[in-house]
Point group: C2
Chain length 268, copies 2
């Protein structure tokens, strides 16, 4: 299970402020904390001001990679920003993201192929996020056809089955989980990634919902997620799930985490 | 999801002591607490002293049903004790349990058929608990053949796929979950029940392991479990799982539980 650290995201107000004010200390602390907590990639998202994005993203990349050694996940739908940022990254980055939308495929896939980057592919197309499994799988077919024709190996593609909130449709989680099972059956060499938190948008006790959803998603084939690596409860749930699913030889990761104090609450 | 309250169990030292000393207050408190916490049945197990069992079980049944209105789950492998106890129960009980062992089938199934009781059927036979899914399914076939030939409807059978600890085999949970999927496919009208806690025997942070295993088991088809109904963390996990799986219309049970303070910890 690979973790993409979510915290350096310019759509969050405090991070946007740090980017606008070139507050390197704040960003670097977020980077170091996530790296120490075991993130495999660090997402870097410069926010939604498209005109500033290339230079904001470059500043973010330089700021982050001057203090941590792990690869970045360049988070932008903007081919121009990605093209500039990819020139200066020190380690092969992940790209976040493409989708079945032709402008993203045309603008970003050549970069992915040229640099042999792993890439997140959203199960959506120009029509937005399909409400049904069938619609999402159709979008995945479009992306996979395009990525294969560009020579991108399936194992470099991290498909995001997408998730809508339960607050408006109690079938939301089932649709995502079923989409994952279909992806796993049809594209067994791809990976799957997801941002969890949409599932609980507008609901109470969100972290609790996100955590249980993560457990169900891992059982359905999720092998990567965009999450807060410092969330101890989430990490504990993840390690426990991996162990229960027979993916923790001799239960070593679990017992090590226990000894390191991850499960230190009374009710564990 | 139906909950069988586990706490009145004579294999627990404090309960054995209460049974031996006819401490009705202690037993009745356990009964009332579990009933208030929402148990659907209360397991009553008089312990392992076979010579005393019929009269101990009868005392337990009388003691419990004088203070609570919910049905009991008569927990004994002993046909003699069950035959006596079933005469005095006020509400149709569940029987816990039969298995593929001929002496249990011959001694207990006629009682189940006569009283039209729901019954827990263990996925094992005279050879003990089979290590493989195939072995457990073979045992289930034996039980189902016998129960059907006695006229017990499939929907009265609660199959327990059984679980061994992860400490000795990291495939333990996978074997149980896969057995559940096979049972669900082959006997779709039966229910499935389980005691969770064996999964974590000898491991650290047991409640945490049990909770994540419950989530995975519910996704694999578990619709009943023998657990502590007063375990708030377990209850929260269960309500959240049911909601995520689309089994909580308008998320009403979840939001009600939230308003009642079930998810009151900061990290939720």
């Amino acid at each position: 299970m690979k973790i993409i650290g979510e915290k350096i995201n310019g759509t969050r107000q405090r991070v946007a402020q740090a980017i606008a004010g070139r507050d390197a200390d704040y960003i670097q602390k977020l980077a170091q904390d996530q790296a120490e907590a075991g993130a495999d990639w660090l997402d870097v998202n410069a926010g939604t001001k498209q005109s500033n994005e290339p230079k904001d993203l470059i500043w973010l990349v330089e700021t982050v990679q001057s203090v941590v050694d792990i690869p970045l996940c360049l988070d932008s739908p903007n081919p121009a920003a990605l093209t500039e940022a990819i020139q200066i990254v020190e380690r092969t980055p992940m790209i976040n993201s493409i989708s079945g939308e032709p402008w993203r495929l045309d603008g970003i896939l050549p970069l992915v192929a040229k640099h042999r980057c792993p890439v997140i592919a959203l199960a959506m197309d120009d029509g937005g996020i399909p409400e049904t499994c069938a619609g999402r799988i159709d979008a995945v077919h479009k992306v996979m056809q395009a990525s294969r024709s560009c020579g991108v190996p399936d194992e470099d593609v991290y498909i995001d089955p997408l998730v809508m909130t339960l607050a408006t449709d109690t079938e939301s989680a089932n649709i995502t989980l079923e989409t994952m099972r279909l992806i796993h059956a049809q594209y067994p060499d791809t990976h799957m990634s997801m941002g969890l938190s949409n599932i609980s948008f507008g609901m109470p006790a969100r972290a609790n919902i996100n955590r249980v959803f993560l457990i169900l998603a891992v059982a359905a084939g999720l092998d990567s997620a965009i999450v807060d690596p410092m969330d101890r409860e989430l990490k504990a749930a993840l390690l426990t799930t991996q162990m229960l699913l027979g993916r923790d030889r001799y239960c070593l990761n679990y017992t090590r985490a226990y000894r390191a104090g991850l499960f230190n609450r009374k009710e564990c």
